[in-house]
C-alpha cells in the first residue's frame, strides 16, 4: 500500500535521537528484559494460576446463576460473573499466555502455542495477526492491520475516501461485535474485495473461523440456554450480554493502546532497515498507557501498560507495573514521550480521533 503525501510534519521527538543514542537506548531496554527474565519464578506461576482459578470460578458461578436466570438477582449476578470471566479469559489469560509469556514454565497448559480462548477468534490465527504482524510492525501504516482493523480510518496517513464518513458508525459496530471483528482480522476481507489477495488463499482461515464460531455459538446460545428448558431466554440473554460487555471493554482498552492523541504512526520506508534500538523506539512512540488501580490493570490484561507490553510482549504482564517507573525514567532521559493518562481522557481522545478522521485531512 502506498503512503500518501498528506503526512503531518513529524513531531519533534521523531528521529530526534542519534544512531548511537538509539543503540544505547536499545541496550538499556535489553538490560531490563534480561533482568526480568532472570527473576521469573514461583511468584509469576502462582499469579497466572490464581487468575485462571478466579476465571474458572467466575465462569462456573456465572453459568450456574444464569441457569436460574429467571430470578432477576441471579440473572444480574450471573451476567456480571460471566462478563468478568470472559474479560479475564481473553485479556489477562488468553492474550498474555498466547504471547508465550509463561512458556518458561514448561507447562503444556500454559504454552503459547497450545492455548485456546473463550472468544470467536481461533487462537492460531490470532497468534499470527497479533503476535507476529501487529507486534513486529506496530503502527506501520500498510503493515499493521490493527490500525483501523481494515474498517476504520485511524491515521491521517490512511487516504480518505467517502466510506470513512461513516467512521463513528463503523467504530460503534466494531465495538459491539468486536469478537467477530477480531475473528475476521486475518481474513483481510477488504484486501480480498480489492483483489489484492485471492479468496481461495483464505479458504483454510475461513474454515478455522467457522468451526470456532460454531462451537462458541453452540455453547453460549444453544447448549447452556437449553439446560434451563422453558426459561432458556434468560441464560441466552445473559450470555449475549456477557459477550457484549467483553466486546465493549476489549475494544475500549485496545483502542486506547495505540490511538490516543500523541501516539505516532510510521511509514514502511522509514522502518525498512530498523535496528533493535529503533524497533524499541517505535514501540514507545506508537503506544499509550492507562493509569488506574490494580484491579483495573488486571481486567485490562495489563494492556494498560501498553508501552511496557510492546517493549516486552513475551514477558509476564504482571511484571509490567513494576518496570514501568524505570521505563518512564529512561524515556525521560532520552527525551522520548511516555504517553499515559486515565481511561476517560485517553478514550475521549480516541473517540475524537475517530470522528475527526471521518472527514478528509
Amino acid at each position: 500500500m502506498a503512503t500518501t503525501t498528506m503526512t503531518a510534519p513529524p513531531p519533534p521527538a521523531r528521529r530526534s535521537l542519534t544512531p548511537e543514542q538509539l543503540e544505547r537506548f536499545g541496550e538499556e531496554m535489553d538490560a531490563i528484559r534480561q533482568r526480568l527474565l532472570s527473576e521469573l519464578g514461583e511468584r509469576d506461576a502462582n499469579y497466572i494460576r490464581g487468575v485462571i482459578r478466579a476465571q474458572r470460578g467466575l465462569e462456573a458461578a456465572g453459568r450456574g446463576l444464569l441457569w436460574a436466570g429467571v430470578f432477576p438477582p441471579a440473572w444480574l449476578a450471573g451476567t456480571a460473573a460471566l462478563s468478568l470471566s470472559k474479560i479475564l479469559d481473553n485479556m489477562e489469560i488468553g492474550h498474555n499466555v498466547m504471547h508465550g509469556q509463561y512458556e518458561w514454565m514448561n507447562d503444556p497448559k500454559l504454552s503459547g502455542k497450545q492455548f485456546e480462548w473463550d472468544t470467536a477468534c481461533p487462537a492460531d490465527q490470532w497468534r499470527h495477526s497479533h503476535n507476529y504482524m501487529h507486534h513486529t510492525y506496530t503502527n506501520i501504516v500498510g503493515k499493521d492491520r490493527d490500525i483501523g482493523y481494515g474498517v476504520l480510518r485511524m491515521s491521517e496517513e490512511q487516504p480518505w475516501t467517502p466510506y470513512y464518513l461513516g467512521n463513528p458508525v463503523w467504530a460503534a459496530l466494531l465495538a459491539t461485535f468486536f469478537q467477530y471483528g477480531v475473528a475476521l482480522h486475518d481474513l483481510e476481507v477488504e484486501r480480498v474485495i480489492s483483489g489484492e489477495v485471492s479468496a481461495a488463499e483464505k479458504r483454510g482461515l475461513r474454515k478455522g473461523i467457522w468451526q470456532k464460531v460454531r462451537r462458541q455459538t453452540l455453547k453460549d446460545y444453544v447448549l447452556f440456554p437449553a439446560l434451563s428448558g422453558p426459561f432458556f431466554i434468560f441464560p441466552l440473554a445473559g450470555n449475549a450480554t456477557a459477550n457484549l460487555v467483553r466486546n465493549l471493554w476489549a475494544f475500549t482498552i485496545i483502542f486506547c493502546g495505540h490511538f490516543p492523541e500523541g501516539t505516532e504512526e510510521f511509514s514502511e520506508e522509514e522502518t525498512a532497515d530498523e535496528t533493535r534500538g529503533e524497533w524499541y523506539y517505535r514501540q514507545i512512540l506508537g503506544s499509550a498507557n492507562l493509569s488506574g488501580g490494580r484491579l483495573f490493570h488486571i481486567l485490562s490484561g495489563n494492556l494498560s501498560f501498553q508501552i511496557e507490553h510492546h517493549l516486552f510482549p513475551d514477558l509476564p504482564a504482571n511484571r509490567y507495573a513494576e518496570i514501568s517507573t524505570e521505563v518512564q525514567e529512561t524515556c525521560e532521559r532520552y527525551g522520548l514521550p511516555y504517553n499515559v493518562g486515565p481511561l476517560r481522557k485517553q478514550f475521549g481522545s480516541v473517540v475524537r480521533k475517530i470522528c475527526r478522521l471521518a472527514l478528509p485531512g
Binding site: R53, G100, R215, F224
Partner: protein, 361 residues
C-alpha cells in the same frame, strides 16, 4: 505432543459445554487429580532411606494404566515455577495395587533429585507419564532369573525381584548388587530380609569402596557369576546400572548369550556438555534430518536444510517459531542466556546450538 499429556478421552458434548478449556480445565480447580486427560499422582507416603535418598509412594489418578515390573515412568515436578521431568523406575510389585514406589537418590547438583529428597511431602501432586520401556519381566516368567544392578539402577530390579518373590516364583533368582559402600546402599535391609526368608533368592553384594564388606569385591567380573548359583548361564538376565557396569556385563554375555540379556542403561542426569557455537550436530527430529552445526540461529539452519519452518518476527518476540528442544545446549542470542536443560521450548530464530542439539522440527 508431550508424553505427559495422554490422549484426552473424548466427551464431545461435555467438551462443547466446557470449551475451549475442556472439562479438565474446571475439574483440576476442584482437585488436580480429577483431570481425565492427564496422568497425575499424589504423594501418599515418604520414607527417607539413606541420607541421600528418599522413597516416595505415589497414588496415580484414574488415567494411569499400570506398569510391568522393570518399566520406567517420567515424573514432572515444578521447581520455582518451572516444570522439570525425569525418568524413574518404580520398585513396585507388578499388578498388585496402583501405588507406585519411587526411590530417588540425590545426585550432586541434580535439581530434581535435590528438590525431591529435600522438599517432597505427603499431599504433593506430581505429573506422571504412562509406564514405558521394554525392560520388564516377560509375561511368561522365565525359569531362572539373574539380576545385576549398580547404584540406584537397582530400582527396576527391585520391582522384578519383589514381583517374582510375591508370586512365589518356583525357580532360582539371584541378584549381584554393586554400590560404593554399605551406608549409601538403598534397599539394603529389605534385600537382606528377603534373602533370609526366600531360600530361592541368592543375594551377592559388592561394595566397591569397602572391600571385604560384601560377599563380592570390586566391580563386575565374570568371576562373580558363580556366586549367583549354578544356573546363571541359562538364566534370563536383567542388568541396570551405570554405563561401565552395563558394558562389562555385555562383554561377558557375548557369543550367543545376548538373547537372554535385558539391558537398561542407567545414566545419571548430567548437564549436556558445553560445545562451541560452530560445533556438533543438529538433529531436526520431525524432519528426520541431521546437519553439522554452523553456529547460525537454528531457524536459519533449518531453512538452509530445506525445512519449511513456521516463523514470524525473526527477532525473538512473537514465538511463532517456538519448538521443543529435546536435548542439547542452546544460547539465546538476544539475552546471551545459555541453557542445557532437556525438554524445553526454545525460539529458533534467536537460538544457536552449542554443540549437539536435537529439536522437534
Amino acid at each position: 505432543m508431550s508424553p505427559l499429556l495422554n490422549r484426552p478421552r473424548r466427551h464431545r458434548l461435555l467438551d462443547t459445554f466446557a470449551g475451549p478449556h475442556g472439562i479438565d480445565g474446571y475439574l483440576e480447580q476442584i482437585n488436580p487429580l480429577f483431570v481425565t486427560g492427564e496422568c497425575r499422582a499424589e504423594v501418599v507416603a515418604i520414607e527417607r532411606g539413606t541420607e541421600e535418598s528418599i522413597t516416595l509412594t505415589l497414588r496415580p489418578n484414574r488415567v494411569w494404566r499400570g506398569l510391568r515390573a522393570g518399566q520406567f515412568v517420567q515424573v514432572a515436578v515444578e521447581i520455582d515455577g518451572v516444570r522439570h521431568r525425569r525418568c524413574y523406575s518404580p520398585a513396585s510389585i507388578e499388578g498388585r495395587r496402583p501405588e507406585l514406589e519411587l526411590t530417588v537418590k540425590r545426585h550432586p547438583g541434580g535439581l530434581v533429585s535435590t528438590f525431591l529428597t529435600e522438599r517432597a511431602q505427603v499431599g504433593m501432586v506430581v505429573g506422571l507419564s504412562q509406564a514405558d520401556g521394554d525392560f520388564h519381566l516377560p509375561t511368561r516368567r522365565p525359569g531362572s532369573v539373574l539380576l545385576i544392578g549398580g547404584g540406584s539402577g537397582i530400582t527396576p530390579l527391585i520391582a522384578i525381584l519383589r514381583t517374582l518373590l510375591a508370586e512365589g516364583h518356583p525357580g532360582p533368582v539371584a541378584l549381584l548388587y554393586y554400590t560404593p559402600d554399605p551406608a549409601g546402599t538403598i534397599y539394603r535391609e529389605e534385600l537382606e530380609s528377603l534373602a533370609a526368608r526366600h531360600p530361592s533368592f541368592q543375594l551377592a553384594r559388592s561394595y566397591t569402596r569397602a572391600p571385604g564388606a560384601g560377599e563380592l569385591d570390586g566391580h563386575f567380573s565374570p568371576r562373580h557369576l558363580p556366586q549367583a548359583g549354578p544356573c546363571f548361564a541359562e538364566a534370563e538376565t536383567f542388568v541396570c546400572g551405570p554405563a561401565a557396569l552395563v558394558d562389562a556385563v555385555r562383554g561377558t554375555w557375548a557369543n550367543g548369550l545376548e538373547r537372554r540379556l535385558h539391558v537398561e542403561s542407567f545414566v545419571p542426569p548430567t548437564l549436556a556438555p558445553l560445545g562451541e557455537p560452530g560445533e556438533g550436530t543438529i538433529r531436526f527430529l520431525d524432519s528426520d534430518l541431521e546437519l553439522d552445526n554452523s553456529g547460525a540461529p537454528l531457524l536459519e539452519q533449518a531453512e538452509g536444510a530445506g525445512i519449511e519452518a513456521e516463523f514470524g518476527c525473526r527477532m525473538g518476540i512473537c514465538h511463532t517459531c517456538t519448538r521443543r528442544k529435546v536435548s542439547g545446549t542452546h544460547k539465546n542470542l538476544i539475552t546471551g542466556e545459555v541453557s542445557a536443560a532437556p525438554d524445553e521450548e526454545i525460539q529458533l530464530c534467536v537460538s544457536a546450538a552449542l554443540g549437539d542439539l536435537a529439536v522437534e522440527l
